[in-house]
């Protein structure tokens, strides 16, 4: 990492910073717009160009001929490709992804209904992953080369190597079927399905807010296993990166200075080194959150978790292309947003990366 000359920074700091910010924001806007257009171009390509006949991809091959003709007309497939793309863009930007064949609802309405479930799962997963992963990474860095370091490394490596759906099945077998510690797959017990009215769609928050603690416990018993599994995956990534950032910080001169001043080791590690390592860690946690949104596709399938992942896989089984592509666009958009937000956050938190 290169640090700009201090004299350069001091001279004309104010003007340069304002200009730098404007340029940075402009660049981010360009990146965001082109990336989003690219995302839509790719999904357009997948939906309209790759299938031999997009109508069959939407309707299935048992549809009668006059329906096929009507849908072809409705989808605008008789027009040239660039006009089709224009209409596709217009629709996608207004949140119109067509109608799901499976649920007969507009895809966007379906996604709005299922997305909070995925968000809640990924959020709890990231919390578990960070709360466990950061201390483990710090421990591994501080006791570099020790048994603890090796164990953290192996735990991380297994996390990188294990198929999540398989681990999910086995944990279901152990914790649900054998030990009966957790609830049956799903999000909430059928008993509470009608007595409990979610507001935000985050069941843990909603039930706690409404003071329905029996519901809260039930929701917790449902979410804890899938969230822990996702958490394990982000733990693998977060602990590895924490270790690497901490090793980098611990070799810096300010640590030597802090030791020379006689600060306690605890204070040096948690107060000084981790505080500086926290800046890149924010990016890592944001990226792992985005990764969990993706990991939820397979996890939700195993746990019958009624989120976006299950929605996509169910639609896939039924060749419901509108729903699949709508889900892809939503997950892709969240990915782009998280990437850009974490980048912006990183620039805000770390003064060294500000415009020179």
């Amino acid at each position: 990492m290169s640090i700009p000359e201090t004299s350069q920074l001091v001279a004309g700091r104010k003007g340069a910073r304002a200009k730098g910010w404007a340029a940075t924001i402009a660049r981010f806007l360009v990146v965001m717009v082109t990336t989003y257009l690219g995302l839509l171009a790719v999904t357009f390509f997948i939906g309209r160009v790759v299938p031999i006949d997009p109508v069959l991809a939407v309707l299935g091959d048992r549809a009668p001929a006059h329906v096929v003709e009507r849908v072809r007309e409705e989808m605008g497939l008789n027009r040239p490709l660039y006009i089709q793309f224009y209409y596709y863009l217009r629709d996608a930007l207004t949140g119109n992804f067509g109608t799901s064949v499976l649920t007969t609802n507009p895809v966007m309405a379906d996604i709005r209904r299922v997305f909070p479930a995925t968000m809640e799962l990924a959020t709890v997963g990231t919390l578990i992953g960070s709360l466990a992963g950061i201390p483990l990474g710090v421990l591994a860095a501080v006791k570099r080369g020790s048994i603890a370091d090796q164990i953290v490394r192996v735990v991380g490596l297994v996390g990188y190597s294990v198929p999540i759906f398989w681990l999910a099945l086995l944990s279901l077998l152990l914790f649900y079927a054998k030990l009966q510690w957790v609830a049956f797959p799903g999000r909430i017990d059928i008993v509470y399905e009608y007595s409990f009215t979610p507001v935000t769609g985050f069941y843990l928050l909603d039930s706690a807010w409404q003071g329905q603690w029996d519901v809260f416990i039930d929701v917790f018993r449902h979410i804890i296993l899938p969230a822990s599994l996702l958490g394990y995956f982000s733990l693998a990534y977060i602990s590895r990166m924490t270790r690497s950032f901490m090793l980098n910080e611990l070799s810096q001169e300010y640590i030597v200075a802090a030791r020379a001043k006689g600060l306690s080791e605890t204070r040096i590690i948690w107060g000084h080194a981790l505080r500086n390592a926290a800046v890149p860690l924010v990016t890592v946690i944001a990226l792992s959150y985005a990764g969990l949104l993706e990991g939820s596709v397979l996890t939700e399938t195993v746990f019958s978790w009624p989120g976006l992942g299950l929605y996509i896989t169910n639609s896939l089984q039924n060749a419901d292309m509108n729903a699949v592509l709508g889900g892809t666009i939503v997950i892709g958009s969240v990915f782009i947003a998280i990437n850009i937000l974490s980048d912006l956050l990183y620039r805000t938190l770390d003064p060294r990366t500000r415009a020179r």
Partner: protein, 309 residues
């Protein structure tokens, strides 16, 4: 190192010589140094052994497998537990020997990773090297495209592609390859930027080499070692994605013994016949762990700069 009993000292000295007499000696010497660094890492050697075992098993699956992987004994051998005589890892719901299916499945795993590497790595290498060497608007456009693909969640994009192309192992391979090349392009571009202004490139330019030749012969080879490391580390992810597609019924179709699909078929019996779904998962875990260990070791050996990361 106590290998090669005859003149061990001199051969070693020849390899580690500071003043190699020939190009071959220099190359062998470098390879030997890399091997020394690599083999001092026990976990990396373990990874290498796992991958070698995978390759051998894939080659000799016909000889090693005690039973037919596709046609089972429906009448007398359904859902036998592991350890039953003749069926070391048990049988599945169609009376097929799980061990034989795993051994044959290694071929599919190997097929997936080799094909993905053959498709994705050269594409990424070419895009990155051209982008870095030519610069200007070519660079800007190519890198924007790369970033767009990088911004996609890999598994979801692969899912969408397979949904459009139709399920099957060839389409799964294609979908994974389409989602895999962008990181290689980024790496190749970064490496290209570091060598692009170096003296040897200026020398070949002066000798009149065409840009095409420079990129192909003088820039791309410099990207190889970082690329190999990254591809090896990605292998685990590729195996997991392929298994995930198989699990969702979008990869290899039955009765092919693909490991992910085998887990899916064992899902129904997980409560009573746990081994049907468990065994293929262990195979996936071991192989992708092997690639991760090998990749880590290769990175440390080929690129000591990043060794501490």
């Amino acid at each position: 190192m106590s290998t090669a009993p005859s003149q061990p000292q001199s051969r070693r000295d020849w390899l580690l010589s500071d003043r190699p007499q020939s190009r071959m000696q220099a190359r062998l010497g470098r390879a030997y140094m890399t091997w020394l660094r690599f083999s001092s890492n026990r976990l990396a050697v373990l990874g290498l052994l796992i991958i070698l075992a995978l390759i051998l098993v894939a080659i000799f699956a016909d000889v090693l497998a005690p039973h037919d992987p596709v046609v089972g004994n429906l009448a007398g051998a359904r859902l036998l537990p592991p350890g039953t005589e003749g069926y070391l890892l048990g049988t599945d719901d169609q009376g097929r020997d799980i061990l034989s299916r795993l051994l044959h499945g290694s071929r599919l795993t190997l097929l997936v990773i080799v094909l993905v590497a053959i498709i994705a790595a050269p594409v990424g290498l070419l895009v990155g090297a051209v982008s870095g060497y030519v610069g200007g608007w070519v660079d800007a456009v190519l890198m924007r495209i790369t970033d767009i693909f990088l911004a996609f969640p890999k598994l979801v994009l692969a899912l969408a592609f397979v949904a459009a192309l139709g399920p099957g192992i060839e389409n799964a391979i294609l979908a994974i390859a389409i989602t895999s090349w962008p990181p290689y392009a980024r790496i190749a571009r970064a490496e290209t930027l570091t060598v692009r202004n170096s003296d040897y490139i200026a020398a070949v330019q002066l000798m009149g080499a065409s840009p095409f030749r420079i990129v192909l012969r003088h820039v791309m080879p410099m990207c190889m070692s970082s690329l190999i490391v990254r591809v090896t580390l990605d292998m685990a992810g590729i195996i997991l994605t392929a298994a995930g597609l198989g699990f969702l019924g979008l990869g290899a179709q039955p009765p092919l013994p693909e490991w992910g699909a085998m887990i899916a078929s064992g899902r129904r019996f997980i409560l009573d016949q746990w081994w049907v779904a468990t065994m293929p998962g262990i195979a996936i875990l071991v192989v992708s762990l092997g690639f991760n260990l090998l990749g880590d070791g290769l990175r440390d050996a080929l690129d000591p700069r990043e060794a501490s990361q």
